[in-house]
């Protein structure tokens, strides 16, 4: 989108591209699919991230259901060993890299600029590129299913089992290269959001007035910025070994398989905080809104988030307690791992204290947020039992670990994401999700998840290892703790869970058909993203807000009664909006759509495809990338004035444009 002319904000200016960059003219901002494919608008990209993530969530979920079907009874026959191994590898890869991370990226893309009062991100085209790279990387990863079998080494792909002899199909190649592409996407996204937060905040919004969601996203982006290159190295080593005969994990040449484990988990542990912190951010927004109180101990929550991010770098070897690190390393990493429970505890405590003394409104969003507090704690506490290294040697690689990480991932990250859906749906789509169905959605999910993952504690402590395509009655035991019963319960639970998630999808469909529009400020919210229309205008805010408080929007609506210390409403959201419209900025200058991000992103899977099949294809991919980079470099982010039909003389447009070029 190019220029929005005041006072007619709904009619976008039409761009007539006259200048050719490289070889293509700039796309015309139209309606229809082109307005999505070539968009650089952070909100559209946010929605596309969300839709992509949801799509992969269902794929990963169906893979999970197949896993549970196979394990429901002894000697399962639904999948064979080979297929089962592909299934859990791709289930985890899909859920982690193609569901939770992109979903968080979607939320971040959509709401960070809105929360800090910006009109877009720092690098809009890079943003678009990141999305397309992620989508193409995800598709590329899953292509392997149709080309001889997907990756089968488990999501942490330990060497040397990932080597060419032990995993001869191309699955691991697709996996390594696909993650490499997704990694590029995350890295560009991280740089983009960091710069956006550091550099594009509205006047008056100091770091300590930033909404907590934005804070947590910022911490996450720093984690990604520094963790992605580590997995990049690991994946390169693996690809070089598989495709070019390097020896990195070849024990016969003297290689040490622990090299891979270290590199993977140096990335992998920060990665798990990448998965959880966005959800921590979401519930830290939701809980105050529905408690009608500010977040308790905001600075503590901010610093604990940063502390989790920082300490998270020093704990990676807790995934290797049984690998044979030697007692000194084990002791050190055991200690640092326990230390992480402290800042995480700070969050749990502060959320509870946020609700304490509040006026609690149990919307679906709130229910999911509260669900997160309790269920994440369950997962976190089992995490602490792993941190005690000697007991971890009994637990590691059993279902007890599977229970741990599904409680933190599903009970934590996913519940947080669902809380965000219900909370922000009216903001993004201008319609309220149905609360009644939401309630069903919540309860079925919570019951389902406890039924699915709760029994896994028992299974694990009873000695059932993970990643077994079959279990046998011979080792199932008898009595109350017999594995057969609890495996069956877990499998039943997973279908309850699926029905719960189905409720959400139904809710979305129903909501889409419901003509009723959402009110402007349905939750009586607190932060800046609510200080605009639903959905927000292309340029987000008519006036770039000036910030005075944490929760500035709330404080514009309410004032404290000096005597009773209760809050009195002084203005409504509608009044605030009306005032904004009256004072709307003239000549808002938005970045223009571009072909190059998607073209550049498309070149990447072509290159990697060629690495597996024929280097000639790689050359073609390289040409595409160079061609796109060239066009990108020559194209300015915003179309020049001559491209605008509505460029009437005397509007001052010329000045705006050249200032920014």
């Amino acid at each position: 989108m190019a220029i929005i002319e005041r006072p007619a904000p709904t009619v976008p200016a039409i761009v007539t591209p006259t200048t050719t960059y490289g070889s293509l003219k700039r796309p015309v901002s139209a309606t229809g699919w082109r307005s999505w494919v070539f968009t650089v608008d952070h909100k559209k990209l946010g929605i596309m991230y969300g839709a992509t993530a949801m799509f992969f969530f269902i794929i990963g979920g169906v893979e999970a259901l197949l896993i549970r079907l196979q394990l429901a009874a002894p000697n399962g026959k639904v999948l064979n060993a080979d297929l089962y191994n592909q299934m859990f590898t791709m289930h985890a890869t899909t859920m982690v890299f193609l569901f939770v991370m992109p979903m968080a990226a979607g939320f971040a893309n959509y709401f960070v600029p809105l929360q800090i009062g910006a009109r877009d991100v720092a690098f809009p085209r890079l943003n678009a590129f990141g999305f397309w790279a992620l989508l193409f990387g995800g598709i590329f990863l899953n292509l392997a299913w149709f080309l001889g079998g997907a990756a089968d080494g488990g999501w942490f792909m330990y060497a040397p089992n990932s080597g060419p002899v032990f995993s001869p199909s191309n699955g691991v190649d697709f996996w390594a290269l696909g993650l490499q592409i997704a990694g590029i996407a995350s890295l560009t996204g991280a740089i983009n959001l960091i710069i956006t937060v550091l550099n594009m905040r509205a006047p008056g919004m100091s770091l300590m007035k930033m909404p907590i969601f934005t804070w947590m996203i910022t911490v996450v982006q720093f984690l990604l910025l520094f963790a992605i290159p580590v997995i990049t190295v690991a994946l390169f080593l693996l690809s070089f070994q598989r495709n070019f005969g390097a020896r990195f994990f070849d024990v016969a040449a003297g290689a040490d398989p622990l090299l891979w484990q270290h590199l993977f988990w140096i990335f992998g542990h920060p990665e798990v905080y990448v998965l959880i912190l966005p959800s921590f951010g979401i519930v830290s927004e939701v809980l105050p809104v529905f408690s009608r109180k500010p977040l308790f101990g905001y600075p503590f929550v901010v610093f604990s988030g940063a502390a989790i991010g920082f300490v998270g770098w020093g704990v990676w070897a807790h995934h290797m307690f049984a690998s044979g690190l030697g007692p000194v390393s084990v002791a050190v990493f055991s200690l640092t791992t326990m230390a992480i429970a402290v800042p995480t505890g700070v969050k749990i405590i502060n959320w509870t204290l946020t609700m304490w003394g509040g006026k609690l409104w149990f919307t679906t969003a709130m229910k999911f947020a509260i669900g997160l507090i309790v269920l994440f704690t369950v997962g976190g506490l089992s995490g602490v039992t792993h941190a005690v290294a000697p007991s971890d040697t009994q637990q590691t690689d059993t279902y007890y670990i599977v229970a741990h990480f599904h409680y933190v991932l599903f009970g934590g990250a996913v519940l947080g994401i669902f809380s965000g859906f219900y909370y922000w749906w009216p903001k993004v789509f201008g319609k309220m999700l149905n609360e009644k169905l939401g309630s069903w959605n919540f309860w079925l999910m919570v019951i389902g998840l406890n039924l699915t993952f709760g029994p896994m504690h028992i299974l694990g402590l009873q000695g059932q290892p993970r990643r077994m395509y079959q279990w046998t009655e011979a080792r199932a035991g008898e009595g109350f703790f017999n594995l057969a019963f609890w495996n069956l319960i877990a499998s039943i639970g997973s279908f309850v869970l699926a029905v719960g998630i189905l409720m959400f999808l139904i809710n979305v469909l129903i909501t889409a058909r419901n003509p009723q529009k959402a009110p402007l400020d349905p939750w009586n919210a607190r932060s800046l993203e609510w200080m605009t229309t639903n959905p927000p205008k292309e340029h987000n805010f008519d006036v770039v807000p000036t910030v005075h408080h944490l929760d500035d929007f709330f404080h514009q609506k309410y004032e404290e009664d000096p005597v009773t210390h209760t809050m009195k409403q002084v203005r409504t959201a509608e009044e605030i909006m009306a005032e904004q419209e009256r004072n709307a900025d003239k000549h808002i200058h938005m970045p223009s759509p571009s072909y190059w991000p998607i073209v550049l992103a498309f070149g990447l899977p072509v290159i990697t495809f060629g690495l597996i099949y024929s280097h000639l294809i790689s050359v073609i991919g390289g040409v595409i990338v160079l061609f796109a980079a060239y066009g990108w470099a020559l194209e300015s982010s915003t179309a020049p004035d001559s491209d605008f039909e509505t460029n009437t003389p005397g509007t001052g447009l010329d000045k705006v444009a050249s200032n920014h070029d």
Partner: protein, 416 residues
């Protein structure tokens, strides 16, 4: 608030807490409560991690039980606090509350308490880590090698235990009771992990490294275990058992393992089986003392045929109860149960009886010989062996006739 009101409020609160607990948190409670109970419960799965049977696992258990308890209590506190808050502060039309931003003193206190708890836990953790890493009090060494998808045990010469020549075995680790055994683990292909829950935690068997694991059993018995690092197709079928024998029984076992080869009598089915074995099997499997017709010793060369460079040594196959990575029993179900459920004073004798003809699990053994990759997933399809230089991973399909299988079974049963 009057006393009565308060009482009513309290009972209502408690009742609602109960309802919520019952509805939502029942699974949690079940898990938590049951976990606590299970320490005392018997009849669990054979790999239960809460039933230590040796000093190393007891050390772990003594450490972890209080940790589980602390974690459970903290979890309960959080759950109760959240539910209580939910009930107490639900919207009853009260005014929008004061916008309190926090109470630093309270926050700091609530930060320090968990830190202190964890400091205490870590002290005990440290002690246990170093105790479990000790190697200087070892009494007996057994080398353990993992490969896809079974374990090989190699007892180096240790005269104290009557081991005067190396013993090579697979599937079941036989060890003397009350002895500090040190496993020296490695792997021939990918990473595996050795784990007998009743005796100790896991230790990965990493190719290119030799790593140690302490094992010691208090009582004679059979303890189940399972490879617990993902190692490819048949990871699920890579099991093991540790057999702890009294010192006398162990000595008998050692003597048997070192007993010379007894060739089957002429003109028996078994003798014909030996012939088939010499034709088909010795290229991979070693039977110590077995000679060819011309009197030369038959030396297996598995590294030419198997990627990991080994196949189980079958010299005393019938002295063990299981085969193919403990995936199958060599004993029929009934005989097996008799050994497994034997009390600790007779289990040794029962175990040393080995596999008799009546007790042999013919069905699984025959199925194995008929087509091993069909009953245990292995990379043994000749069409797919290019990547492994034509070598199998696991035992291939050998296209044996039923006749040959009969002969082989008759022969194998003689390998006491």
């Amino acid at each position: 608030m009057s006393r009565r009101q308060f009482d009513i409020r309290l009972s209502v609160t408690i009742a609602s807490v109960r309802i919520v607990l019952r509805r939502v948190f029942r699974p949690l409670i079940i898990v938590g409560g049951i976990s606590a109970l299970s320490a005392s419960c018997a009849t669990n799965a054979p790999q239960d991690t809460w039933q230590p049977k040796g000093p190393n696992s007891k050390l772990i258990d003594d450490l972890q039980q209080p940790v589980f308890a602390v974690a459970g209590i903290i979890g309960l506190i959080v759950a109760v606090a959240v539910i209580y808050t939910m009930l107490k502060y639900r919207d009853r039309g009260q005014p929008i509350p004061e916008q309190t931003h926090g109470k630093p003193a309270l926050e700091i206190t609530l930060t320090i308490i968990p830190a202190l708890i964890l400091a205490v836990v870590s002290v005990f953790t440290f002690g246990a880590i170093f105790k479990l890493a000790k190697t200087d009090d070892t009494e007996m060494i057994i080398n353990v090698t993992g490969q896809q998808w079974w374990w090989e045990y190699d007892y180096p010469v240790q005269n104290d235990f009557g081991i005067t020549q190396p013993i090579i075995s697979s599937g079941q680790l036989v060890m003397p009771v009350g002895t500090k055994v040190l496993l020296r683990e490695t792997s021939r292909d990918v990473i595996h992990s050795y784990w007998i829950p009743a005796l100790n935690g896991k230790r990965d068997a990493v190719p290119g490294r030799i790593q140690t694991l302490r094992l010691e059993a208090d009582e004679p018995g059979i303890y189940a275990g399972q490879c617990s690092e993902f190692c490819g197709l048949s990871h699920a079928n890579m099991r093991m058992e540790a057999v702890a024998l009294s010192k006398e029984d162990f000595a008998k076992w050692v003597a048997n393992q070192q007993a010379p080869y007894v060739a089957p009598a002429k003109d028996t089915l078994a003798k014909q089986g030996e012939e088939v074995f010499l034709n088909q099997c010795v290229r991979c499997h070693q039977v110590n003392g077995l000679t060819r017709a011309d009197g030369t010793p038959a030396i297996a060369a598995p590294d030419e045929n198997v990627w990991s460079g080994a196949a189980p040594n079958l010299s005393h196959l019938m002295s063990r109860n299981t085969f193919a990575g403990a995936m199958f029993n060599l004993l029929s179900k009934q005989c097996r149960d008799e050994v497994w459920n034997a009390s600790s004073d007779v289990v040794g004798a029962k175990y040393l009886a080995g596999v008799t003809e009546q007790c042999l699990n013919q069905k699984d053994l025959r199925a194995w010989l008929r087509n091993a990759p069909e009953v245990k997933p292995m990379y043994a399809n000749p069409a797919d062996l290019a990547v492994s230089d034509g070598k199998y991973r696991g035992m291939p399909y050998l296209a044996l006739s039923e006749d040959d299988i009969n002969k082989l079974v008759a022969y194998l049963i003689t390998l006491k």
